[in-house]
Amino acid sequence: MAVKGLDIFKLSPKKNCKECGSPTCMAFCMKVAQGAIEITKCPYMSEEAIALLSEATAPPMKTITVGEHKLGGETVMMRHEKTLVNRNLFAATLCTCMDDAKVEERIEGIKKVDYERIGEREMVECVFVHDAGDSAKFVELCKKAAAIGDRTVIIDTKDVDTAKAAVEAIKDNKPILNGANKDNFAAMNEIATAAGIVLGVHGADLSELHDIVAELEKAGNKNLILDVTAETIKETFANAVLVRRTAIKDGDRTFGYPSIVNLGVLCDHNEHLETALASVFVLKYGSIIVMDKIGYAEALPLYGLRQNIFTDPQKPMKVAPGIYPINGATPDDPCALTVDFALTYFLVSGELERSKVPINLLITDASGMSVLTAWAAGKFSSTSVKKFFDEFDLANKINNRTLIIPGKVAVMKGEIQDKLPEWNVVVGTREAVELVKYLKDGEYKAAAEAAAASKKPAEAKKTVDADAPLDFEKIAASIPAIKIRADLDAHYKQRDPESPKFVTIGERIHCISPVIREAMATFNPDPILERAAQQIKAGATYLDVNIGPAESNGPELMTWAVKLLQENFNNVPLALDTANKKAIEAGIKVYNRTNGKPIVNSADAGSRISYIDLAAANDAICVALCSADGIAKDNEERMMHCHHMLERGLSLGMEATDLWFDPLFLVVKGMQDKQMDVLNAIKLFADEGLKSTGGLSNNSNGAPKNVRPIMDSALVAMAMMQGLTSAIVNPNDLRLMETIKSCDIFKNNELYSDSYLDV
């Protein structure tokens, strides 16, 4: 929680002595609030003020280590506000009131629940051992609990001597000592501190709990967990919510610790009620949830819920790539291919199971994106599929040669077939729900036979060496002659590349458009030239040329597109946009720089960072997405990516202004509460003298057609105010273009005249 400059000012000496180097105390305090200067630079600042500041910058909730797990450390009440960071843990109970047989049964039960779901190990992480009044038996029970292994024991006793004996007996387990109350906390504190373990604290009510925690903190122990269990369920829920809310919203760090909730005692052996409450506490602020017992019936839904809730809302859940045999599939059964986005996996695997047809589901690494998004981003391509087949040795692990690919990427069929000539590639359904019928009807069998029959006889495959240097002459010779259209009436005006004016990059030449995709597949110049002319007339500064993944002929296609556009339109400057780096290299080779350097679209701080190297080697501008794997969660992360890419560019000899940082504009429908973050990121770039760009109209995706220009215009005005220097836009949006021109007037980038809109 940020502390305001005025709050510090109120506590400052207000003598304006200038000893700190600032002209006034007010100026000094403002700088302190921004973190620009240390508060200790003021020799007269009160201790109270220093304490306020350190309190304000401390995290609202401490992170406690339990076994291999972290607990607490939360900064928000609800996951959509940012993310919940540390998932809660579950404990099952052992009690001295149980006979030996029951204890054994429980221990077996605890061991049994141990499985993997979406790459996470799911198990009963803690064993809660309750002391019902037999000290010797209790210590033995703690030993048994510790002997299970991999589980943290929670020693639940109020008796100091028993606690001491139990901690001594299992200290290697690093147990939690859940036993401090108002009568014994000093002694319990000594035991826990000496053993270096977490101390659980209980109070008769929140006020008492608050007092005890304050006392323990005063004694120097901040390795605590708060047992919020009360007499009733209602009061326990209130405690859990209030403890968390007090810490996070009211800024009272005394309650800034994880909680423990004992449902076993609250539910009186009503197992179903325990499950219901466990679900409530997964969502609302239980850190360790103690249940009487946990079997598969409880674990499956509760752990699934926990896994859902403790995911970063901005990072997709991913399934591990691999071969998933469904309905008892063997290597002799066919394969179906999809991406690693968890929801896709669940939908597809669910439908496959429903079909009862044995089939091997192949999950490829697509950075957790859905099928179409991954394809468009080049994360789901014939190359990535080929790589997956090699890595997982499909040729030897699977005997059947039928490969069903998602209907949505039917366009990839040919390329996959070329890269996997042994396989019979079949296009499956567009939607998962159609799979049951599709598989039961067995259509794919005929399709596989057809695919096998139509394969060209084993001609010697051209071996394409991805690392071989490009033969530019050969490329130039292989492309069609450049057609010049004089009838289009679009003239690109000579431009000063140093102009401070806002740079619009027209986005309309994009292979996701069916017309353009078709034109690029057949080297048909007309649709491309027509769209280019339209954008140039509308006033676009640059044109983006997105040729898609273009795995087979990227260099030829890009060379052709660059020459086509520049020769027709007075060397219009271009942004070269594809996942095929060789294509960009080839495009730049024939590029004319009169009206501006080429733009490489785009690098990121993750797997596409080498696009910066490409831009540096070719003296190009590079769009730099401030993300690595998924959207950055906050501006701290955005700036980290920004600086990472900046350093790389500078070390390769680039000018800082040739990196155009893209904060990634987010969709209002869905991420409304993150819009200001994006705008503030632009300000952060501008403050460092950096340039910025981005796909601005993404904000209004899914909004009605008549609304989009209004939203886009408002956003571009706000973003230009923050310092945005460029945007990838649809130049045919008149309202947007007029807004940009008007903003350029206000920013004094262009001298005003009555007809500035026409210029």
Partner: protein, 314 residues
């Protein structure tokens, strides 16, 4: 210094909507605090539970606990009468799965007759769920709203594609309560409420079905949508999101692997019925903790348990 927690009651509140008529009429919504936050202010109405009854009748109720509860019932009307005696039940939900043109394709007349027969035989409020086929549901809702005029039923639900027809008939012509269904999309939820009120449906007669998912199956989207709706309704006092929420749970949870796989197929997982019940309970408890004002459930044990949970928390 004794610790005194700060209260967080809001000036805005969720609309109170009454379903049904007579003694068994039941109210949902009305509170001005977050779910179960009785420590911030008194909660006006406890969340309510509806019993899902599909028009296929006994053949769909194969779990031993269900068979035992409905033992001796032959028709859906018999089951409805029995369901009224279920511990924890507040209303009945007739789910016309059989109307689906791609399934049993029962005629609208047949469905209306069943709704009428059930309505004549019971006193609890009635909620009508369709078959998810837009055209069929539109006709079905219109006809049932007409046939059950005066019973103050809720049709669940009007969607983006048919809110005009359903809103005009159920909401305006027959003065029933209308559900507004969106699929885990807060912007669409608000949009539907807005256009439905523009149509003339009283905001106080609208209940939202914002969509759901079983625990573990993308439930995070449901959780965040619920959180955000409550935030907008109470903190921002957004009148177009203050409609109470009703969530059908059992129709999702009894379809996922954990509830469908037999014990013979998955011996280490144990009893199938127990897994189904716990999945239903976990999901229902989660949507209630997130702010749903009513849930539609199916298994008698799940209903009993969720009722006990609500009692304990209110």
């Amino acid at each position: 210094m004794p610790f005194v927690p700060k209260k967080q009651a809001f000036n805005a509140h969720i609309n109170e909507v009454v379903l049904g008529v007579g003694e068994k009429a039941t109210a949902i919504g009305g509170q001005n605090v977050l779910p179960f936050h009785s420590f911030d202010a008194e909660i006006k109405n406890a969340p309510k539970i509806g019993v899902e009854l599909t028009d296929f009748g006994m053949s769909e109720y194969t779990m031993p606990g269900e068979q035992a509860f409905y033992a001796g019932c032959e028709t859906v009307v018999d089951m409805a009468k029995r369901a009224e005696t279920m511990e924890g039940a507040d209303f009945l939900c007739l789910h016309f799965e059989g109307a689906d043109p791609n399934g049993a394709n029962k005629s609208v007349e047949e469905c209306v007759a069943l709704a009428k027969a059930v309505s004549d035989a019971v006193t609890m409020p009635i909620v009508i769920m369709g078959c998810k086929n837009i055209e069929k549901d539109t006709e079905l809702f219109n006809k049932i709203a007409e046939a059950l005029a005066g019973k103050n039923i809720l049709v669940l639900s009007a969607r983006d594609e048919n809110y005009k027809t359903v809103g005009a008939s159920a909401g305006l012509a027959y003065n029933q309560k209308v559900g507004a269904e969106s699929a885990v999309d807060i912007n669409l939820a608000k949009q539907l409420n807005t256009v439905m009120t523009q149509l003339g449906v009283n905001a106080q007669n609208i209940v939202m079905n914002i969509g759901s998912a079983a625990a573990g199956y993308g439930y995070e989207y449901v959780a965040s949508t619920l959180d955000r709706i409550k935030d907008a309704a109470l903190k921002q006092a957004d009148g177009m999101l203050q409609m109470p929420i009703m969530t059908p749970v059992s129709s999702d949870t009894w379809g996922v692997k954990e509830a469908v796989m037999s014990e013979a197929d998955m011996p280490e997982w144990g009893s199938q019925e127990e897994r189904g019940i716990e999945m239903e309970i976990t999901t229902a408890a989660a949507v209630l903790a997130g702010g749903s004002d009513a849930v539609i459930l199916r298994h008698p044990e799940a209903i009993k348990t969720i009722a006990a949970m609500i009692r304990a928390l209110i």
